[in-house]
Symmetry: C2
Subunit: 429 residues, 2 copies
């Protein structure tokens, strides 16, 4: 039985798409030629949506439409269509701050919950490129800039309080997708739950050990509370390497349907955690031992550069553009005040690094023990080899979550990753 949907909603398909698009001012001109001749392909490989790429003689667009259920599971898990509204609202809110780092938004259809945007070409999903071992020399620079601008620009450091409260209130409406994160990242992996899966039987005992690890579960619960009640900035909310499209020259952040006001470390940690997960996964893809060593060096260098560049840019934005209500600059105008405020900014970033590492660990753990896995690890065909990579991931993840504050800087994190890779030779925690 199909799920009930609002009047006017219908799932688009390759046959109906040209008709829909030609009704939108400007889109027919952008694509050019006869709508009947437009090439339409449904390419959605995500879990929640239909995605169409449409090519005409003059140009191309991408159409993303929300489905009324979680596609990964099917109609058994209904999911509100309004997430498309929040996705386009996030694009409109972050767009002026981050400029070319997100696709250009062309149109939003509120009845169809469909977003028409620039088609990115020849971009591919970054996760696929990383599994193949492709280096993206500009990624660290681009994503650090994106993170700094999107997070600083929607924080109390940049926004007047009333404007931030207005935006926060709007995004509170996206509670259904927040709840999904709360459950599948911070809760389910730490308990017996039918949605969980892992490499079995290799990690059966490990999964049980995690479920009995009180310190780990407390760390997850503290992060969950932070996720629930720390609206520091407008987050992307799902910023893993599957939400990034890349070429060797360009980087674009897509799919902000989980957007809401939350702790900045959740976005930063999503990037760092997915890079670290890929670092460990490379050993499952190498043709010979250490066959991906150079790539792994690049991944860890990227981890370091993402944080270092993010921190520098965030601090620069703060020093130069503190237009928000937090830390009024006029209170710290004299020499002593300027020095003290700078020390405060450093302490703020140290706290944000600890938050980011904790969330990074949570993102790594859920990809191994929870519902949603990813190809970095899933494409390792040999289950023993995969389980060893996953054991290393979990070893570092636990340390990032339980001891987040003990890492003095990002270099300590990459050193710990190398140590774990060298030290862990057996499957299972």
């Amino acid at each position: 039985m199909p799920l009930e949907t609002p009047p006017g909603y219908r799932a688009l398909d390759e046959g109906s798409l040209a008709g829909f698009l030609s009704s939108i001012p400007g889109v027919a001109e952008r694509l050019g030629g006869d709508p009947a001749g437009w090439k339409v392909a449904e390419v959605g490989d995500g879990n929640l949506n239909l995605v169409f790429l449409v090519d005409g003689p003059a140009g191309a667009v991408c159409v993303k439409q929300a489905l009324p259920y979680l596609r990964l599971v099917g109609e058994g898990w209904p999911l509100g269509l309004q997430r498309a509204y929040f996705e386009q609202l996030a694009m409109k809110t972050h767009g002026p701050l981050v400029g070319p780092r997100i696709p250009h938004l062309i149109h939003y259809d509120p009845a169809l919950y469909a977003i028409v945007m620039e088609k990115l070409s020849p971009h591919i999903i970054m996760r696929r490129g990383m599994v193949a071992g492709t280096v993206y020399p500009h990624f660290a620079d681009h994503i650090a800039d994106h993170l700094a601008r999107s997070l600083f620009g929607t924080s109390d450091l940049a926004l007047p309080a009333a404007e931030k409260k207005r935006l926060t209130a709007e995004f509170c409406g996206n509670s259904e997708l927040c709840k999904l994160t709360e459950d599948v990242i911070f809760t389910d992996p730490y308990m017996v739950h039918p949605r969980n899966r892992w490499t079995s039987p290799q990690l059966d005992a490990t999964a049980a050990r995690v479920r009995g690890d009180t310190e780990w579960k407390l760390a997850a619960s503290r992060l969950k509370l932070k996720f629930l009640a720390s609206p520091e900035a407008l987050l992307h909310g799902d910023l893993h390497t599957g939400s990034v499209m890349v070429t060797e020259e360009d980087t674009r952040v897509i799919d902000p349907e989980f957007a809401f006001f939350g702790p900045m470390g959740f976005d930063v940690g999503a990037v760092l955690g997915n890079l670290l997960l890929n670092y460990f996964a490379q050993d499952g893809h190498a043709a010979e031992p250490d066959g991906r060593a150079a790539y792994q060096d690049w991944v860890l260098e990227t981890v370091e550069r993402v944080w270092t560049l993010f921190e520098a840019r965030f601090l620069a934005l703060w020093r130069g553009g503190a237009t928000g209500d937090a830390y009024p600059a006029s209170l710290f105008a004299d020499g002593d005040g300027v020095r003290a405020l700078e020390a405060e900014r450093r302490a703020y970033m140290a706290r944000l690094l600890a938050d980011s590492l904790g969330f990074a660990g949570a993102k790594m753990t859920r990809r191994i023990l929870g519902i949603a896995h990813n190809i970095d690890l899933e494409w390792i065909a040999d289950a023993d080899r995969r389980a060893l990579c996953e054991t290393r991931c979990l070893t570092l993840a636990r340390r990032l979550m339980v001891e987040a504050g003990s890492f003095a800087g990002i270099a300590d994190v990459t050193a710990a990753a190398r140590d774990v890779r060298a030290a862990v030779k057996n499957i299972g925690l």
Copy 2:
């Protein structure tokens, strides 16, 4: 020139009140007799509103109406009427949680921005009673219970995330009154501002010293950031002893027009800070040296009991009714988990005490150096004597704000208050 108001709004007066009330179902019956015979008195001594007490032969009501400006200053400082909407919404939200601790809400008129509620009698404003040296033996018990129930019950420990986000979003609309707090408590007292005043010339040098005290200003700014972006629970938002009406037997919390989702410590700290301020002010009201010593002992004992009882009740609610999404009980069901979760609860309360002390210090400081003073200190006619009490207040306030984390328990706070009273013999920091 009168300020523009929405269609349908008119300021009520003693002449028009009976007509308004008799149009509300049930109110005429409650008051009884002929509306022309109802006794109406405007008694508002606050800064923001008209307050009418209406007595009929069968009963009485209180009517509170928002004015479109800050009454303390006059029409030169316009203030949105919608704060009345948030006040009644807070009463409706807290009401089922706290029961008899707030007045019964009878009616809300959205066009007049007027709240009709139970008339409290023979209650008086607690601050007046405390200035007169009246002991309220049940206050600590009552206010601790109110704080625990209102804060726990609207937190992520008790509410499902979607419900908490829905409420948070609504109260984000009260940003104008939040901004007032952000300015007059956390910002203005620490800078040169025409709204500030203090006992002059006695505290001129002190006010200047505070404006140059970088550590103090950083502490105020950290608290401000917490106020801006920590929606832990639905706060009253202005819970000083002027927002409490008492008899020796009863305690009622009134005037939640500043209500919003913020850090719990702001409400707890408002209570503690105003008690501590009264403790120091008593020396200005004593007929002879140490003439109020017994009362001062009671005030400090009340400070201790408010925190101790609040902590015990909050913990009991958490242990017995953790129906929210934070710290899922099922993750901590075994013996080790139960113990660890209890330790986590204790750590949570320790953090909350530190928050509360910081906010208490901020509330004390603003009453001496900012726009809004109160009668505990203002009614000390001798300016030198007042300035000495104020110096002691500021001495403790700075310590509470800058060293909040160094107080291991509430007994350390009352000990520090006694020390400050004994040690500070001269006017000025």
